[in-house]
């Protein structure tokens, strides 16, 4: 086995995307006048090698550790058990009931809505983790989505207004990336769930994430979710990623390109459309 290089974490499979992202981000950072942040460092020595394509393990159940009822996220009778307060337990229970009737729409099926944080760690299809001294980018083929984690020493936004991926800043503790995420919109606009069982968070959620490689081919993401609006205590969720074969090719993902499974806004049902656009169900 060859020793992985520690010079760069830009994968071969994602090199074009990474180059585009680097150019785009570099351009953006250059436009911040007088900013002490975003200085273009080029030395990536000492940063871990997270190159290549990665696949999330264990299916798209967000919290397998508390999952009951077996199966996957849409299996009838199954659900997770986060430490919800009574109000948010009622919201989740309603979602599970709808899911069991096949009436809970996946917000990802509304093509054009990005996958926010922390669901961005709960997607099928390949991931790329691009490590730079000033930022880490999480790129997902599914969506596609990008989450930016600033590691250039900047503080959190003073008044984050609630976005899909929120505001993430972090630092390196040895080979582990530790970052906090605030400013999440959560379920405020009812367009972000964590999995298709209907798990949700409030816009008060605050997540501390620790990412590190546990083996040469395994990357562990441990999230400690605190949410004064929805949870009675911290909720710890761990996701694991395995490295895909070298040379794995990633592609476009245009959800709206030929979406024949749109959500009926009046019923919440996921529709099935024929080739002429007429409903089949």
């Amino acid at each position: 086995m060859t020793t992985p290089t520690r010079r760069t974490s830009v994968s071969l499979g994602g090199v074009l995307q990474a180059k585009f992202a680097v150019a785009a981000l570099a351009g953006t950072l250059a436009l911040i006048p007088g900013s002490g942040y975003g200085q273009q460092q080029t030395d990536v020595d000492g940063l871990p090698d997270w190159s290549g394509a990665w696949a999330m393990q264990g299916g798209t159940v967000f919290d397998r550790a508390t999952w009951t009822g077996g199966g996957g996220a849409i299996t009838v009778g199954s659900r997770a058990h986060p430490p919800y307060n009574a109000e948010w337990e009622a919201i989740y229970t309603r979602h599970v009931d709808l899911k069991d009737q096949f009436l809970l729409p996946d917000t990802n099926s509304i093509c054009g809505i990005p996958t926010g944080f922390p669901r961005i760690f709960n997607l099928p299809d390949p991931y790329e983790f691009v490590v730079r001294p000033e930022q880490v980018w999480i790129l997902t083929e599914n969506g596609p989505n990008v989450a930016r984690i600033y590691t250039d020493g900047r503080p959190h936004l003073e008044e984050p207004w609630g976005t899909y991926t929120g505001d993430s800043v972090g630092h390196w503790e040895g080979d582990a990336l530790v970052f906090t995420t605030i400013g999440l919109k959560g379920w405020r606009d009812q367009d972000q769930i964590l999995d298709r069982s209907g798990l949700v968070l409030s816009d008060a959620a605050h997540v501390t994430t620790r990412m590190r490689k546990t083996t040469d081919r395994t990357l562990e993401v441990q999230m400690t979710i605190e949410d004064s609006g929805a949870l009675t205590k911290p909720w710890i969720v761990t996701k694991t990623f395995e490295k895909m074969p070298a040379g794995t090719h990633l592609f476009d993902y245009g959800c709206a390109e030929n979406n024949r499974n749109p959500v009926d806004p009046s019923t919440g049902r996921t529709l099935m459309l024929g080739p002429d656009g007429e409903k089949l169900n």
Partner: protein, 129 residues
């Protein structure tokens, strides 16, 4: 495609599909398809829509009344399938094919893809005689 290459290619597709059929179809709610039933339809490929988020195989099938009916068969994401060897040419227009699907619960001419067998005996997806 030469027949031997086609056979090798389709073998790869079959192996990959054994692993991936269920997860990729599961992207959307499974409410439309009856996963407990397997239906077989034979017809002619009209179009293979190799597009995101899911591919669709349009098949012209002659029903019991002798009328031509267009079936819509949904499979996984083109990205996942492409990594397993499926290509837009996998279902060429005009080819005769027998499809095994999980049919719609309401009887509409559509289903979730399980496997397909071509007139030359090659197959794609999960296909056991």
């Amino acid at each position: 495609m030469k027949s031997i290459n086609r056979l090798a290619f389709l073998t790869l597709v079959v192996v990959g599909s054994l692993i991936l059929v269920q997860p990729v179809i599961a992207h959307h709610s499974g409410a439309g398809f009856n996963s407990a039933e397997v239906k077989e339809v034979t017809g002619t490929i009209k179009e293979f829509q190799f597009k995101n988020p899911h591919v669709w195989i349009q098949v012209l099938v002659r029903n019991a009344e002798g009328q031509e009916e267009e079936w819509s068969v949904e499979w996984g994401s083109p990205n996942v399938l492409a990594r397993q060897g499926v290509r837009p040419s996998t279902f060429p227009p005009g080819a005769t094919v027998t499809m095994r699907v999980n049919p719609m619960l309401n009887g509409a001419p559509a289903g979730g893809f399980i496997g397909a067998k071509f007139a030359d005996g090659t197959s794609v997806g999960r296909w056991q005689e």
